[in-house]
């Protein structure tokens, strides 16, 4: 997810005296995407999913948080599928957030209510992707990883003035946040890919082995 956000954010902040975003330039040229075949895969070291078509795994970057993995179908930032595998209490969805940063993405807390998790994700987009208009279009209960969870749908106007659509399906298990997040332009890409994302979400389960420690 951070990967996608940074791609969105890159153009927004390059010359804005804001720093950040600088890691984007040339990043793809020197890293290798890995093909994801339509079979079972471990993702974010914690979950197992089964895509039905080929995806591309985005190379890990230093600014990814330890608990995430990113896939894309057509390339970032066109579409991004992020897996967050067990974000711990007190941790933010982003890396390199300093205590002195004026604008901060709220830390996840294991006792967050559904609207609080939704609001955390919204702040994440507004702060890191420069989204201005951000609208919740749905928040409903949904079983995820066999647990009671939520589905959060939203639309936002990205820093590059493209109207994008997103869906997050998530749950909190053992005090940790597990999510699959999909974000793409509202026109064409979101409706085209969301059925496959739904299949991936439905296939998701927790790995049986012990969850990694903090």
């Amino acid at each position: 997810m951070t990967r996608l956000i940074l791609a969105l954010f890159a153009a927004f902040a390059v010359a804005g005296c804001a720093g950040g975003g600088g890691g984007y330039g040339g990043g793809y040229g020197f890293n290798r995407f890995r093909l994801i075949e339509p079979q079972e895969h471990d993702v974010a070291r914690t979950m197992v999913v089964r895509p039905t078509i080929r995806w591309n795994r985005v190379p890990r970057q230093t600014y990814d948080i330890p608990r995430e993995e990113n896939w894309t179908l057509h390339g970032l930032p066109l579409d991004g599928l992020a897996f967050i595998g067990g974000l711990e209490d007190g941790k933010p969805l982003v890396r390199y957030q300093r205590r002195r940063d004026i604008r901060q993405v709220p830390n996840f807390r294991s006792d967050m209510t559904p609207p609080e998790i939704a609001s955390m994700i919204e702040s994440y987009y507004r702060i890191r992707a420069g989204s201005v208009s951000f609208t919740m279009t749905g928040l409903q209960p949904r079983t995820f990883l066999g647990q009671p969870g939520f589905q959060y749908d939203y639309e936002h106007l990205s820093g590059s003035e493209v109207t994008r659509q997103g869906r997050v399906v998530g749950t909190v298990v053992g005090g940790r946040l597990y999510m699959i997040l999909f974000d793409a332009p509202k026109r064409h890409y979101f409706p085209e890919i969301i059925p496959e994302v739904e299949r991936i979400v439905e296939s998701a389960r927790l790995e049986n082995r012990p969850q990694p420690r903090s």
């Binding site: 153009a11 390059v14 010359a15 005296c17 004026i102 604008r103 609207p115 201005v132 590059s160 003035e161």
Partner: protein
């Protein structure tokens, strides 16, 4: 579609960001205040440029205006836009009928005047203003740049001192390049950054615009004291924002960039306001008109600000607005800012603010939702469920109604 828009919010921000690097602040330097009565308009109605360099500048900005006019960042509510136009007409002096105004949805305190007579103001400005007089002072300041021909004067000054580069030729070359997304953006950023760096006028021209704005305010009946108020608010907000994160305020930030040192400037504005505030007993503040014109947009404005989780600034803004009286909306966003801040004690503090918010008749439905969840978290389940039910009653078609219903059933 965004690739076809050479001017975007990013660029405006980037350009204004670059402006903050120009280092034109000269704190403590001796200076003479420019008196409002000395500020005559340097143009007449329907002004058109004749010199070649100014015509070139106009051509470029006419293209920019077309692009801005089509940007999907614009707030286009006709009532709000016509309200802004009415203020421009009032304080725009001889150019009142020539000036255009665009409202861009960007939660920053900023405004920008183009040499051709169009102005872009950011929604973040509307978030922060307590009344119409405060907004008018910023609009009058921007109009002052136009009336005093600051762009071309600054441009010629820069040209005299340095052989910069041919920004207009450059601008003409890259607009429709349609390069890859990132290259394109970078090129366009550079282009507009250059243009807007020129918009950092420097101390003297900013002081002129200040004096001009005070004059226009007084002549049109707006309380000129609104001018020093606005700058005091901005300084205090910047300081509150920094203090919350335990860092030094960024003086080069936003509209303070390249302006005279904030304290000096405020002193000058106070003196100028006092000078023109003679011979008249009542001054127009336009608070009711302002709030009525913002209407339901005020919620959006506060939402855009508070979700940025800059609690120092957000709480300052809310408290500043509340100095005219608390209401449910302001209490709700106070609670939201505290909740997002996320300190250990903030859960209880925000719960208390949500509880206060719902005592006001104008509390937004979301206040009942958050109040309800806060009660449930505090172990007061039945009261919490009642509050959630109230939310559903007030907003039966809310996008999260299904989740709230589920929470009630738990």
């Amino acid at each position: 579609m965004d690739d076809a828009l050479p001017l975007t919010r990013r660029m405006m921000l980037a350009g204004l960001g670059c402006a903050c690097c120009t280092g034109l602040l000269g704190v403590g330097e001796a200076h003479a205040r420019i008196r409002p009565r000395d500020m005559e308009s340097l143009i007449g109605p329907g002004y058109r440029p004749t010199a070649a360099d100014e015509r070139g500048m106009w051509q470029e900005y006419e293209r920019v205006e077309q692009e801005i006019a089509g940007s999907n960042l614009l707030v286009t509510d006709p009532n709000l836009v016509s309200y802004l136009k009415s203020i421009v007409s009032r304080v725009g002096g001889v150019a009142a009928q020539d000036l255009r105004i665009y409202l861009a949805r960007v939660p920053e305190f900023n405004a920008f005047m183009a040499p051709t007579g169009f102005m872009v103001i950011f929604t973040g400005l509307l978030t922060r203003m307590r009344d119409e007089a405060q907004l008018a002072t910023v609009i009058a300041h921007e109009a002052g740049h136009f009336l005093r021909r600051h762009h071309i004067r600054r441009w010629r000054d820069v040209r005299r001192r340095t052989d910069l580069f041919a920004i207009f030729a450059m601008g003409a070359g890259v607009g429709g390049a349609g390069a890859g997304v990132y290259l394109g953006d970078a090129v366009r950023l550079a282009q507009l950054g250059t243009i807007l760096t020129l918009a950092a006028y420097g101390r003297e021209l900013e002081a002129e615009a200040d004096a001009m704005s005070v004059r226009q305010m007084a002549e049109t009946g707006y309380d000129p004291n609104a001018a020093p108020e606005v700058w005091r608010q901005l300084i205090q907000e910047t300081e509150a924002s920094a203090e919350m994160r335990r860092r030094r305020p960024r003086r080069g930030y936003s509209l303070l960039a390249s302006h005279p040192a904030p304290e000096t400037r405020m002193a000058d504005l106070r003196a100028s306001a006092a000078e023109v505030r003679t011979g008249r007993e009542s001054w127009d503040r336009g608070r009711e008109r302002y709030l009525n014109s913002l209407g339901t947009h005020r919620k959006m404005l506060l939402d855009d600000q508070v979700k940025l989780n800059d609690p120092g600034a957000s709480l300052f803004i809310v408290n500043n607005l509340a100095s005219d009286g608390w209401n449910g909306l302001l209490r709700f966003y106070e609670a939201e800012a505290i909740r997002l801040r996320g300190r250990r004690e903030d859960r209880d503090l925000s719960a208390a603010s949500y509880a206060q918010a719902v005592t006001f008749p104008d509390a937004p439905p979301e206040a009942w939702r958050m109040h309800g969840y806060a009660l449930i978290q505090a172990g007061r389940r039945e009261e919490g469920k009642t509050a959630l039910a109230r939310y559903l009653a007030l907003a039966p078609n809310a996008p999260d109604a299904a989740m709230v219903r589920y929470s009630i059933q738990q």
